[in-house]
Symmetry: D2
Subunit: 362 residues, 4 copies
């Protein structure tokens, strides 16, 4: 089969590779029908994530169809159409039993396209499929559910729920990339009074308005702290969500949050930040961090099925799966292409014949 | 009457001053029966709290007896014995209505011995007495309840409750001064599996053991991070409570906390700290700050009345109220005197005749 | 002045009565600008609420303008336009300090039009005004905020919040009167997947659809349990809200709730009900009861000001305040008149001159 | 091997039966080292639980040693000493993923000694062992952990946690059998101000005092409601825990609970009860029900290992496993024998040789 393979910093290719095979009784093999590229994939390609060794297939977001299942799999059958999540859960370790799948110590966590081969491929091996994948309800398209693989639960759990957004709140979201925009959409599930989005690119702020922001602030030009204080009669935002990942935006969040409010960090940070405890110690502020656990995926799936949440506006570009290299170029040049999410579509060729027997014989 | 008056950095005196008078219908005048000195009072004397203007009477922790009440006071009568709390609550502003009295915007918050005259005096004016003071149940001594004025609710609310201590947790408390030791006593209300106390003074660590610490670590000598990791099989503490107020101890807390755990900052900080978000962003950590609200004072009072909580071991020295200057010297030299809490006892002379009529005539 | 006075079971009149006067330093006198009639007022008129003694002015929901204030009032001034809530809070008792104003033991709770004169009058005395009334933001009409006096916070606190409605839930609301419909509107603040409304009157179910119900069931005709189970693949509703107040509807709620779900009782009951613990003991069900506390009124007011919540569709009829008797007739015959909420509008004559001085001299 | 087999109402025998074998890759076979008898086993023997078919081996509480494991088991090895819980969790269904193992829809829940053969036997098959059993820390005896199989988590989760016991509460526990006494021990983890135990047998009340009750009331003789109101200055208990399972005790709980309090039902009920909603609708009361989920077992195990919780006083009688019939007689006549928990000890003969290979070959 063919797949998008990482060959070290700056190098990737659409290569011929061996088909994946079942390695544990809890595995499934899945034909990839639709996948997408994440900002994290770009970081890997830059060499920022040394845990990814050359030769690894990239990708951790997909919709696919099961072609083989291990002997211990009970929740799925060959032919089932599933959502593959960025987080794998063993379902057995203390973290998983508390719903903290992102902290799985039993062989899961973020492994796809990271510690094992990922899903930007014709087929992929999905470990612990019973506790890590989700059957897709009839009638939903691949693209309707695809963004549940990462950005929706990430924004919702690490931003909205950690931030404890409540009806009537003023919510400030710093960063209007895919995660920030997913935070706008999922914040609305709790009906805040006002959603403010801050970014340095006016195009992104325009987009934020379309996604539902009530107020936008270009914090490259405007005095963002002054604007927020003016909007809130000097109180600050009840919740400030960091969706960028650099010190300046985190520190901005800590300045615009109200006494008693919450700063929910979603961004991936590479450097330490300065925390102004000399001001914050008395303010009754809560700061949260975290990787997504995806424990809300079933809830978000229900909301999509009922038409209460819609991720399809994220898609700005579509390619064939075999055009992955070109797709990366478009996504990597988002500042010029205005790419938000780039969708890769597989061939959906008929499934290989079920192979459970083959395994049993082997 | 006489009182301990702040006369600018480094200067204090036991002075003759005018008796306080009712200034609002919600005020009470209280004869001070027992009071104590706080570490914050030492900061004021060093000039660290410029909001305190020379001429201010110090002190924000006391037990007293009401000698006069304003016309709108309904919950107390002359002669009632009350606990005076470090936090004043107007009971009307949005913060007070949410139980966040420390953030009171209606004229309360920490004002005694700070923005208005305090309680290290023969008499004191207590604003908003109905919503700020607590009647003392029969049979309890002044010293049994005195530490409810500040250190008990501070340690409990800002440390234990913000930290979300639960049965079975490993709780690490950094700093074994009065607040850290009050955190040990109130952590035990939730039956953690293990309480670890860290400090750089062995005398304090000895004391921590007497107060109930299971493990003590001298972090001036030992590798505290290694010790905590060893104790917890590499996981770290479920809750780390910062009870010192300097960057090094906050940063230590952020290193010893487990994935999914909480750092509860109680210390008063004068400088920014470095937050290692490049490590913490993925760890699902919560960091909290805050001033005490004293919303738990009624609960803690019940526990003291039932013998479930006992603050009397905090008292290491006792003086007459008129010996306040000497008492400050002993408390200020804690490293030599081993002072923990220094208690000042008033004369308890008969109350002046009730004066509500006098006010009405004025 | 004139007011709607209760004269014993079945008897009411628009009478000449003395103007109210300040009786405590925490009182205000308020000119009633707009008021409305509650189902509870009809119960009083039937003699179902014996605590209401003949001679009492009825009414506990109003918007008005302050004409006099007591000497201890600090949050309002003469001329302020306020929302008068069905619940009065002393702000000082243990219940009020926990936000449970409905359980106030300091002279508040539901007293207006019940234990003291109410607001269906030209002027009313409002006790504890600082902790019981809310300033109305500029630009909002009386009718936009009027329903915050009772039905909105009742439905939201006792139904939606007690029921712990979450995004993605199936919420079943039994009863489509004003409270049930307010539950539909406020449930939507948490974006449930599906709102099902049950009632025995098709007109009310039509209305429920207009207010936002996704599914309606006439439980006088249809097998409601079967319909709910079909809708939820046999699981039942996550939250069932009782908004009628008779045994049959409570028992229906206990049959349609899912394992792990919540029955939130909002209805006022006059008889015991049968609880099928022989089925429910194993189901992990929570049942809640309660009178409104109105602690969410500031939040709901913010949502109305931002256009996120709109109560104006409740008004079906409007009368002059002096036509109160006729208005009661229309509201009492709701089955024929289709009345939902009947609004009474005062004359808004110029305020009497401020009288604080008068009081001081008295 | 031999086991205690149910032969229909009133009939049981210590029989020769076939050894259990692995039936799924997630199974383990366990040598039973120590087991105990539950009140539920007596109900089964009376024929009250028709789902138990004649021929079933009884028992759902045990400590054992693994003798064989299925091919998908990753968390345990042959020879591991484990706690077997009354609740089996598939780890994959929506209920299990929310920690509600008692509501497992994937083949678990309460199945041992109920829907499949139980643990009062020399060997038992334990399904889903990875997600249902717990490794026992070195140094703990069988009896120290045995009561974690059922009564400790049941009392803690369904009584203390559902009841939301907090420091300072008055907790009333109705029923002083093993569950009620386990509620006393686990309530203390949250340091209530006062634990009151009610029962009709003075011997049980004596025992309750030994377990830590502060006050006991014989509600067969005394006016229990009056006593509780006197103790609480007319407020009632913050939490009332029903640990009997008959209408009278549930109704007693609903009378002694305070406004704003919680009734946590733990008892297994066979009949409906009367709920006095005509009094309760206004009281802000929460009523909870539920089967144990055992999600707290790891926490309770930690507390036992640290000496914070001790279940060994539950054991009143000890028998050999082969004397099960006699043990049932003693336990069934608790009123005369004063039996609390009756422990059955296996022979601990050497394990059969590991059989994973045998399976693979089969």
């Amino acid at each position: 089969m063919q797949a998008l393979v990482y060959h070290g910093p700056g190098q990737k290719a659409w290569d011929d590779v061996p088909e994946p095979t079942l390695q544990a009784p809890t595995d499934a093999i899945v034909r990839i029908d639709t996948t997408t590229i994440c900002g994290t994939d770009l970081h890997i390609l830059k060499g920022d994530v040394p845990a990814v060794i050359p030769g690894t297939i990239l990708g951790h977001e997909a919709v696919g169809t099961i072609s083989e299942i291990g002997s211990a799999v009970t929740g799925f059958e060959v032919g089932d159409r599933i959502l593959i999540s960025c987080i794998t859960s063993c379902g057995r370790c203390p973290s998983c039993k508390q719903g903290r799948y992102g902290l799985c110590t039993g062989g899961g966590g973020w492994i796809l396209g990271h510690l094992i081969d990922g899903v930007q491929a014709e087929y992929a091996r999905i470990p612990f499929v019973d506790t890590s994948a989700y059957k897709i309800p009839e009638g939903l398209t691949d693209e309707q559910v695809l963004f549940l693989a990462d950005i929706f639960p990430t924004a919702y759990e690490v931003g909205i729920l950690n931030g404890q957004v409540k009806p009537g709140d003023v919510v400030a979201i710093v960063g209007a990339g895919p995660i920030g925009l997913a935070a706008v959409l999922t914040a609305k599930l709790y009906t805040p009074a006002t959603i403010v989005v801050l970014d340095v690119a006016d195009e992104r702020l325009e987009l934020a308005k379309k996604f539902g922001a009530d107020v936008t602030i270009n914090n490259g030009i405007e005095d963002a702290v002054a604007r927020i204080m003016e909007l809130t009669e000097g109180r600050g935002a009840d919740v400030a969500i960091e969706a960028v990942g650099v010190p300046a935006t985190f520190e901005l969040c800590s300045e615009i949050v109200s006494s008693g409010g919450t700063v929910a960090n979603v961004g991936v940070h590479g450097s330490p930040v300065t925390l102004h405890l000399e001001k914050l110690w008395i303010k009754g502020v809560t700061i949260t961090t975290g990787l997504v656990d995806t424990f809300t995926t079933p809830t978000l799936l229900k909301l999509i099925a009922q038409g209460r949440l819609d991720g399809t506006p994220f898609t700005t570009h579509r390619f064939k799966l075999s055009e992955s290299v070109e797709a990366y170029d478009v996504f990597g040049a988002a500042a010029e292409t205005n790419a938000l999410k780039v969708v890769l579509e597989g061939e959906k060729t008929p499934l290989n014949a079920p192979k459970r027997e083959a395994l049993a014989l082997a």
